[in-house]
């Protein structure tokens, strides 16, 4: 635990009946950092976020924000800004009134003029100043979530909590809005905890991503490190695609696809193992005397994904820049080898 952390979640434990939603979760978040919690449904990420917001009680643990222990503070006294998965704008208020709501409740009553100026700033920031007098039912889903973001930011929250705010939106709006969230977060420097089950979302905007499973934080790291150097098999398999390829492990290396590559820390150290190889780590070149055949090819724009059958019957997926994959259609003979990148190896069986 770092004493310089702005937010400290220490050994959080929460049971729902017999289910352990949080099992000793500990996370530090630096001031101005955006941390994403990623994991499958039921892994405890939302419980952790709600606990920090004060909306969920805990069985054990401590939460410190800006040096103050807020574990037993009521949700309405914590000064957190939250954007929910469901649309949560107050339906009887206009967009501006929604944004001003939190300001009206501040103990040091903010003058009406200042409130209006502040709400104007925030509406401008989310690009919806022209919709200030619209009611929620007059706004699209994306616009409603932007107003919800402006409302959460209006109170200058200690921590901005985002509970899968993009999951109800269509793909295009999701991408636009997540970039906007990041832009605004960087602009304001607001410490942010973002919960999502969408890895692309988490990896694209977070400073660090924490992967959770069964209430436990498996790994927290910068997106690139999480992707390239997973510390557990779950992280390797949950984040991105992997090809499970069996091989012999010894002395920190594994022998697969006719080559030897280094293993990552946390991998099995000897005996039979299954290497979890990223599609980008597989090199494919056209070769009539190769060791594999292309089964199918999917064009993804800048890259091309190839499903390849090795001569021993193993099926692997490789991802190449599209120009390099030109001409590698179904049935093309190819030579498959591994790039010299370390892989995570889990125990066989």
């Amino acid at each position: 635990m770092s004493s310089s952390a702005y937010v400290q979640l220490v050994d959080l434990v929460k049971h729902f009946g017999k289910v352990k939603a949080l099992d000793g979760l500990t996370i530090d978040i630096a001031e101005g950092e955006l941390v994403a919690l990623l994991g499958p449904s039921g892994c405890g990420k939302t419980t952790a976020l709600r606990a920090l917001a004060g909306l969920q009680g805990l069985d054990r643990g401590q939460m410190i924000v800006d040096g103050k222990d807020v574990t037993f503070h009521n949700a309405n006294k914590r000064g957190m800004g939250m954007v929910f998965q469901a649309y949560s704008l107050f339906p009887h208020m206009t967009a501006r009134e929604n944004v001003e709501y939190g300001l009206k409740l501040r103990a040091n009553k903010i003058a009406a003029d200042n409130r209006k100026a502040r709400s104007g700033e925030l509406l401008d920031l989310v690009g919806l100043s022209s919709h200030a007098n619209h009611y929620p039912y007059q706004l699209s889903g994306g616009q409603q979530q932007r107003i919800a973001l402006a409302r959460a930011l209006a109170i200058s929250p200690k921590v901005l909590l985002l509970d899968e705010p993009l999951s109800a939106l269509d793909a295009k709006v999701r991408t636009q809005l997540r970039e906007e969230i990041r832009r605004i977060q960087v602009e304001l420097g607001t410490t942010t905890l973002f919960v999502t089950h969408d890895q692309e979302e988490a990896l694209s905007i977070a400073d660090r991503v924490g992967v959770m499973r069964n209430g436990v934080l498996e790994q927290i790291a910068a997106p690139a490190e999480l992707y390239d150097r997973p510390r557990t098999a779950f992280v390797a398999e949950f984040v991105g695609l992997t090809n499970p390829i069996a091989g012999k492990v010894s002395g920190g290396t594994i022998e697969i696809l006719g080559g030897v590559v280094k293993t990552l820390p946390g991998s099995v150290t000897s005996g039979d193992g299954i290497a979890l190889v990223r599609p980008e780590s597989i090199d494919v070149v056209a070769s009539k005397s190769g060791n594999a055949t292309v089964f199918s090819a999917s064009f993804l724009g800048a890259t091309c994904r190839l499903s390849i059958s090795l001569n021993d019957g193993t099926r692997v997926t490789a991802q190449l820049p599209s120009p390099e994959a030109a001409g590698l259609g179904a049935g093309a003979p190819v030579k498959v080898s591994l790039l010299d990148l370390p892989v995570f190896v889990k125990a066989a069986g």
Binding site: A75, G81, M82, F90, L105, H131, L139, Q176
Partner: protein
């Protein structure tokens, strides 16, 4: 999309039947109230209507009933609505028992209720007040099945949990959440429940008559025994008054519900 002639004809046929069903009795009442009822009357007369004002007890009974209705309204707003919200929000396990409790007045005949509460009202008359306004207590129990159903439907239609949590994280106390966020959101349900409640309070006869309170309906019944034309005129006037009340309640017409496209 243009509707076909057949659909429009069918729609207007239904509307016409419903309108006839509602308006014919009103017209019949008006017709009866303007019929001659004395030797001096020749043809149509509004004498029954002009006699309304001279009826003893009538104005007092109307004001008593309206005050009772207002008290029942206040009880709905400050007791029943917050309780229903609290149960939906914080005690979901109690929803079924609470609903069952609220339905009981519907299952128990009014006469049984009167027999049960008569000793209580004797005590109230002796120790607190003889005013019929005290009937607000028993009325607020009688209206429960209608009011609660209306509120429950309105609460189920909105994600009140998320709204409550959003308001709480912004700094709202639980009372602000209930009165400032949830209640305005379920306004339609509250108004609907209140209208049914007012109609029941203004129209209730059995309990007030047996407990010997002179409410609006009791006085109308007394007038009816003396002069049927005046009683019908009073009934029609009261109906028109309630319709007038319904029409003057402010409604916020929101126009231009255009779903804007997202901007990048």
């Amino acid at each position: 999309m243009k509707q076909s002639m057949g659909v429009r004809l069918w729609r207007w046929t239904i509307i016409s039947f419903v309108a006839l069903y509602l308006l014919v009795p009103l017209y019949a009442m008006f017709d009866f109230s303007t019929k001659p009822f004395g030797f001096a009357d020749k043809g149509r007369t509004f004498r029954a209507w002009t006699m309304i004002a001279s009826q003893p007890d009538l104005l007092a009974a109307i004001s008593r009933s309206l005050i009772t209705a207002a008290i029942v309204m206040a009880l709905i707003l400050f007791m029943i609505v917050p309780t229903a919200i609290w149960v939906h929000l914080k005690l979901p396990g109690l929803r079924r028992p609470f609903e069952l409790l609220c339905l009981l007045p519907l299952a128990i005949p009014a006469i049984v209720i009167v027999v049960g509460i008569a000793p209580l009202y004797r005590w109230i008359s002796i120790n607190i007040s003889e005013s019929p306004i005290t009937l607000a207590g028993v009325y607020s129990m009688l209206i429960l099945p209608y009011t609660y159903r209306s509120l429950s439907a309105a609460l189920d239609a909105v994600d009140i949990h998320t709204l409550a949590e959003a308001a709480t994280t912004l700094g709202a106390s639980i009372s602000r959440v209930i009165f400032g966020i949830i209640m305005p959101t379920i306004k339609t349900g509250i108004v609907n429940g209140s209208f049914i409640a007012i109609a029941l309070v203004l129209g209730e006869y059995t309990i007030s008559n047996i407990l010997n309170f002179k409410t609006f309906q009791v006085v109308i019944a007394q007038i009816g025994r003396q002069n049927g034309n005046v009683a019908v005129a009073v009934s029609l006037a009261s109906l028109l008054f309630v319709i007038f009340l319904l029409l003057i309640i402010p409604t916020k017409k929101r126009q231009g519900a255009v779903l804007d496209v997202d901007v990048a």
